[in-house]
Amino acid sequence: MKALFSLAAITFKEGIRSRTVYGILIFAIFLMFLNVMISGMMMQDVAKVAVDMALSSLNFVGLLLVFFAGVNLFSKDIERKTIYMVLARPISRSRYILGKFAGISAIIVFSLAILAIFESASIVIMKNGYPAQFLRFSWSALFFSFLLTLISLIVVLSTGFLFASFSSTSFITLVLSIVTYLIGSSANEVKALLEVPHDIGERTSPLLLYCVKAACYIFPNLSLFDIKTEAAHGLFVPLSYILSSIFYGILYSFVMLSLSCIIFKRREFP
């Protein structure tokens, strides 16, 4: 446990001090001003646009962090053989994965928390400027959407870990996890699109439909974590929905990490 914690700690320190994180934070400040500017252009729904911008930029910056700071921190460890200094310790391969995952997750949580503060600040600014447009706005809906976005990023990170556990270069890992993200966040829409003609009697190839359905199960269904529309309009989201999505996210990450542990245990580091 101590070993796991210390690995998480140095991973966090290493990640936080790298320039990627600083760059992303500067970008975040830029996005905050952009948010104030763009949502101020709206005629009516200032609150909605402000929340949209806040949530989407959080999602975007989070993805940059996952791909370029997160997945890289793990796969570079193997590529540059810094992993030797860890595996030479009495740390099992599984603990290595978990410690690394905990450390990188901490980086993401920490950076996104800072970003969320900036984004909330931009919303406060807009709220004071246009109080009449913020009547339906709710901080709790915004918070839950932040939370689910965070969970979805952790899920994407866990798929990155799976790929890093067997691929030998960080580039392949990066490409595979980006592709997974793209499929995971659009599969549900594609499925919905294919199912509509089915309902009105038009024929789509059943094979295609099966493939897409299978993709929905295999790839992380990231649309489950998207309650941005609800947050933007202050619509009611039942707690049971939020809890079940979080449960799904944690379970999916758990499966991904278990698979990575199994693969990693057998792996050699020549």
Partner: protein, 249 residues
């Protein structure tokens, strides 16, 4: 007494990524080091020195044969509590400081906080990194990185110390420092297993020498026995390696 490091009849081959052809890296290697010995592992580049060392750390696994340290299989995780390792051309998290690196090493090996502090200060002083201990490793020179790696390998006061090319990239001062460290460890009753291709260094500090070429161990004997014949280590090395190459062709 059983040898503390024992590699018995180990073969290892790697798959070539492009053609599915297997490349033999080690062919029925057996070697052993007694407790308290300094074992110099010699061989030309690509002979299988690093492969053997990675086998000792369970970074790779043998196709056949067995590898044990202190009578226990190297696959045992807890075993690495008593093993210290310095990789070849070590590369560490570059935004950490030497102090943090040693903190991690100690923590991961299950040491107490105060113990880590004490030992790391002692080791940083010995490796001449005391002034640089709060600087990111990124700013270190190659020699400093090597020394930090050495301190990391020793932080948990291991019984068995395995060093892959500890002298490479060091200036004469650095090499003398490493030699002295190895001699200190020997005095403290530790076993040191290190690979090198700098024959002079080995001649000065080793008790036992193993020479490897093309994945085969061609000679293993105590240094005194070897030098009894009047030849220098260099002569023996060249003779043994050439013998193997002729056989191979």
């Amino acid at each position: 007494m059983d040898p503390i490091i024992r590699v018995h009849d180990v073969s290892k081959s790697f798959r070539d990524n492009l053609s599915a052809r297997k490349v033999k890296a080690l062919e029925s290697i057996s070697l052993s080091a007694e407790k308290g010995e300094v074992y110099g592992f010699l061989g030309p580049n690509g002979a299988g020195k690093s492969t053997t060392i990675k086998l000792l750390l369970n970074l790779i696994r043998p196709d056949s044969g067995s590898v044990t340290i202190a009578g226990r299989s190297v696959e045992e995780r807890e075993l690495r509590r008593i093993v210290g390792f310095l990789p070849e051309n070590p590369y560490f998290y570059e935004h950490l400081t030497a102090e943090e690196l040693l903190w991690f090493g100690g923590q991961a090996s299950g040491m107490k906080g105060s113990e880590i502090k004490e030992r790391s200060m002692m080791l940083l002083e010995k490796t001449d990194l005391l002034d640089a201990r709060k600087r990111a490793i990124r700013t270190y020179s190659k020699g400093m990185v090597q020394r930090a790696g050495l301190a990391l390998a020793l932080v948990h006061d291991p019984e068995v110390i395995i060093l892959d090319e500890p002298m490479s990239g060091l200036d004469p001062f650095g090499r003398r420092m490493v030699s002295n460290l190895i001699i200190d460890m020997k005095k403290a009753g530790k076993t040191v297993f290190f690979s090198s291709h700098i024959l002079g260094d080995i001649e000065k500090i080793c008790d036992k020498v193993g020479i490897i070429a093309e994945g085969r161990l061609c000679l293993e004997d105590s240094l005194t026995n070897l030098l009894n014949y009047g030849a220098t280590l260099e002569d023996i090395f060249f003779a043994e390696v050439e013998k193997i190459s002729v056989k191979g062709n």
